[in-house]
Structures are given as C-alpha cells and as structure tokens.
Point group: C2
Chain length 107, copies 2
C-alpha cells in the first residue's frame, strides 16, 4: 500500500458549490475510484486550499490513473470540478492536484 497526500486551491466563490457536490458524489465516480484501487480517501478544506489523503492498494498506479482518466463519467465529473479548482504554481509537470512529500508516518 502506498499513501498519497495532495494539495490544490479552490476558488473561494465556488467552495460551497464544491462542497455540495462532494457531499453527494455521483455513484459512478465512487465506483471508478474504488475500481482503481484507491481506498480511505478523504478531502479536507482550510483557507481556500483542499488537501487529499488516500491509500493506493494496487500494483500499477500509472495504469490505474490512466484507466480513471479514460472513463467518460469521470471526465464529466472533472469538467465540473476543474473550473472550481486552482492548481498550485509549484506542481510537477502533468500534475493537477500536486503531490506532497511524506515526511512522517506512524501506523
């Protein structure tokens, strides 16, 4: 299992809308996330920033992310979410949510 922490900004004018969507995520989106071997997935909010934590239990993260990105319903969901999000300037090439560095872990 590999843990991920990720960060992205959110437009303060649209945060309530973002929150409403995330209180009732479309079932197909949840199913695809689970099918792509992501578990224990949380998103937190503070000061116009969103922080994601999830655990990846599969064996090929790149392939699973490509599968997710190819899913039409996921593309539809992202088309609603992305205009509300504000990616951080210092993200790596190809990132939308920026991966963070794990500096500590205790089971």
């Amino acid at each position: 299992m590999k843990r991920f922490g990720q960060v992205i900004g959110v437009d303060p004018q649209q945060f309530e809308k973002y929150k409403t969507y995330h209180a009732a995520v479309w079932p197909e989106i949840l199913e695809m996330i689970s099918a792509c071997n992501i578990t224990n997935y949380s998103i937190f909010h503070k000061d116009n920033m969103l922080y994601a934590y999830f655990e990846y239990t599969g064996t090929d993260f790149t392939a699973d992310m490509a599968r997710m990105a190819a899913d039409p319903k996921t593309q539809e969901w992202w088309a609603v979410m992305e205009p509300m999000q504000r990616p951080v300037a210092k993200r790596s090439v190809g990132e939308w949510w920026a991966n963070m560095e794990e500096v500590f872990h205790l089971e």
Copy 2:
C-alpha cells in the same frame, strides 16, 4: 473512529532539520501517540506547509490530548518542533496545528 486533517506552516530555513527529526522520532513520542489512541498518522510537506492526517480510535479526544500535553518527553519534543513551525493565522482559539474541515470521504 474519527479522521483528522490538520495544517501548519514550517520555516523554510528549518524544514530540513524538521524532516531529519521526523525520520527518527524519539521512541517515547511514538509510544505516547499510540497510547493516546492515534493511528495511521502521516505528515506531508509542500511549499512550506505541513499537512497531518491521522485517525483517532479512542472515546475521549480531549482527555487523550491533555494526557499527551502533560507528558514531559512530549513537551521536550514540542519545544524542539514549535520554533520550526509557523501556525496559520486563521486557526481556532487554542489550536497550534489548525484543524481542517472534511468535505469528502470514501472508504
């Protein structure tokens, strides 16, 4: 079980020192965290900010946090960590690490 997401800044001049300490946290600190019913505890770093995720499995978080705060070794650890940390302006009264709002969770 209750999930927590928390955020705090870190002095960029001292981040490497912070990271070195967290690569070898004193055993007594880890034991106290576990004794206070905190599990699956990670800290991530990005752009001079630190993000913590942990799960609380006890029944009285306030009492467990008071127990941790009363521990001399924990106080000693915090006395080393706090000068490296930069609490966010919009934290609640009594907070050091600021609690974030959970807006999404998938098991």
